[in-house]
Symmetry: none
Subunit: 212 residues, 4 copies
Amino acid sequence: MSVRGGDKYAAILDAAQHVIARQGYHNAQISRIAAEAGVAAGTVYLYFQNKPDLLVCLFRERLNLLVSEIKEAIGDAVDPREKLRRAIAQHLRSLGTRPELAAVTQIEMRQADTQVQQQISNLMKGWFAVIDQIIAEGQASGLFTREVPAKQIRNLIFGTLDQTVTAWVMSGYKFDILALAEPTYRLIAHGVMQHREGGVGNGDSGSPEADL
Amino acid sequence: MSVRGGDKYAAILDAAQHVIARQGYHNAQISRIAAEAGVAAGTVYLYFQNKPDLLVCLFRERLNLLVSEIKEAIGDAVDPREKLRRAIAQHLRSLGTRPELAAVTQIEMRQADTQVQQQISNLMKGWFAVIDQIIAEGQASGLFTREVPAKQIRNLIFGTLDQTVTAWVMSGYKFDILALAEPTYRLIAHGVMQHREGGVGNGDSGSPEADL
Amino acid sequence: MSVRGGDKYAAILDAAQHVIARQGYHNAQISRIAAEAGVAAGTVYLYFQNKPDLLVCLFRERLNLLVSEIKEAIGDAVDPREKLRRAIAQHLRSLGTRPELAAVTQIEMRQADTQVQQQISNLMKGWFAVIDQIIAEGQASGLFTREVPAKQIRNLIFGTLDQTVTAWVMSGYKFDILALAEPTYRLIAHGVMQHREGGVGNGDSGSPEADL
Amino acid sequence: MSVRGGDKYAAILDAAQHVIARQGYHNAQISRIAAEAGVAAGTVYLYFQNKPDLLVCLFRERLNLLVSEIKEAIGDAVDPREKLRRAIAQHLRSLGTRPELAAVTQIEMRQADTQVQQQISNLMKGWFAVIDQIIAEGQASGLFTREVPAKQIRNLIFGTLDQTVTAWVMSGYKFDILALAEPTYRLIAHGVMQHREGGVGNGDSGSPEADL
DNA sequence: TATGAATGAGATTTCATTCAT
DNA sequence: CATGAATGAAATCTCATTCAT
């Protein structure tokens, strides 16, 4: 049986997430994670090379989930605006319905050392690629502004989402983050300024706004 | 004489920033910071309660600098849009001209434990207050959208700036972050969507756009 | 069927020698030895009680080989001097033609813990017995000095051979150890001092020296 | 005060020797050595880089002692035979009067891993140099045989001494090793063979034998 | 104020060995 | 006989902090 396919692999990752979320990154000893997973400490090393590897695998697994959920949410949408709208909503939904995971990704894992951060940073490219694709389509179709570098648009989108989820976690989950999906989309799409009637972004009848 | 007034206080903070920037957060031992500051390790404890306190003090000091520079940049501007524009530009300028500080605030200090993060989070309220004030004025004057909660507008502004500086540091300072001030303002102000002629945000003659 | 008769028994010993020689004593894990032998780790414990037992068995097997080769080399020699000469030559030949084995016996196995060393020490008595027999015969026949305890003569002979092989291994096998057989015999037989003509040890026409 | 000059430096080395001799190499934990030395475990790392470094320093210190004692014993002797005789006697005396040290050098330290062994091997060159010098003088003066490579003479001398001390330690110190000095010298000097009257090596009236 | 030598708690990781299959 | 997944004990080393001077 494949090492990564074993149910202990998933059990250890789940345990790591639990422990990190509850006890904090720096208190997440291998021994606690192993105990939580119901295995011996040494067993962890049958599935992961070392502690950093375990953490990177955890992040990869969860990020892959996030990205796949977002891709699925985008589904067959054609309009880049609609794609953006769905991607934003799904990002907030994927983390907003998993407070424990959100705490891990937004707060705790950021305490990892530079080596792990570097690998996490590489993994983020998977999610960036999805955003970049939407931006490229949007600019190609003339729907998105070309006055600003695509990378900076990505910084706007990702930075806003990241900060939103972080604020939610640090607030103690005290507000309804799912309700922020649409306002956040509007902000990103149309900006902070007051929209005149007949203003920005109201495209054809298939426009995102029309769907709401 | 005030403890905080001694030049060793500042020397230790400067040393901490140097060491953290060069060696990374997890290699920034008190002994190295003390050596860099030209004092004995024990002396650090005459000026700071403990290591977390030192880090929080460092962050507070630098954030206060950032906020005061931003307030000064805003100066006597009246139009909330202009205030926003200047604030964005100054945030990027304050960090963009201090790569070492940017590395510390964007990358290294985020590895601090949850306790320190919590205190840093509180300190951030100083900078958030400036943003929130601009937003409040913007919304009150009808220039900024009221369809979106002010806090979410703050998340957009801060998240975008934060992500921009982080991307700049992680790129190895390979692009001109100061040149991103205006595009970033436009994105935040007008959004991602293509702006129609006569579109959003062209206010009076004192409008930001008119200044460009 | 005898456990020790199985070919896996020999295969595991061979594998142990390979692995110890290549990876060093402290990197010679049971799992690697098993893999090299083409069996599962657990299988090793069907043939050996534990790791120390495996090492002792390996040493015993190889020492038995050495001793039997030496005895065979001595063959039908009668003169104790000739016996000594042949024993010395064969010791150097047995190890000098098996560099891997020499590395294991001279360098790696010496890192074994005191418990194993004690058992190895006992096994050495087999080889010592051969030397001691030659010494006894030499002293009985009046050919070898009686001024020195037989045990110390043994220390001279064994110590010199042992150090010679060790030096050869540590040199990276860079000199011809077989060529040292005769000089080593001469040193041991006649000592370091310059030999006068008609000096020590020129026995009858069958003396070793006559053969050179 | 020099780090290596502090009395704790010597105290830790002494403690290491005690613990290794009593508990065996593999049971010589830093914590036990520190306790024996009357310091905290962490203090050991103020004086030594790591455990291997401690062991190498211990060996170096003791070997330097041995070599200096031997050099002093050789003193003003001129005849290479006398120098050899004194060197042999002092080697046996230096270790024979320090059973604990002998156990450490002959048995326990040989269990060190390859890294440490390599450094120990380099340190041995100091002692080898003394022997080699005597051999060179002996050969130059025509007193020592030139038929055998000097290095092999060194192997004879060192190998015999080493094996002698090892046998003494493994016997549980059950024989008088100091009494072996003269017989060992004779063996090395004159060889195993029966010495004719007026035999080998009777030099001038100042010859070593005349002194006995 | 200032020093810096000393402290000591605490976690990762390895690997010989077992045992259910 | 054979397997190999799982076990779990054990020790090095770091570094924030203290305190006698």
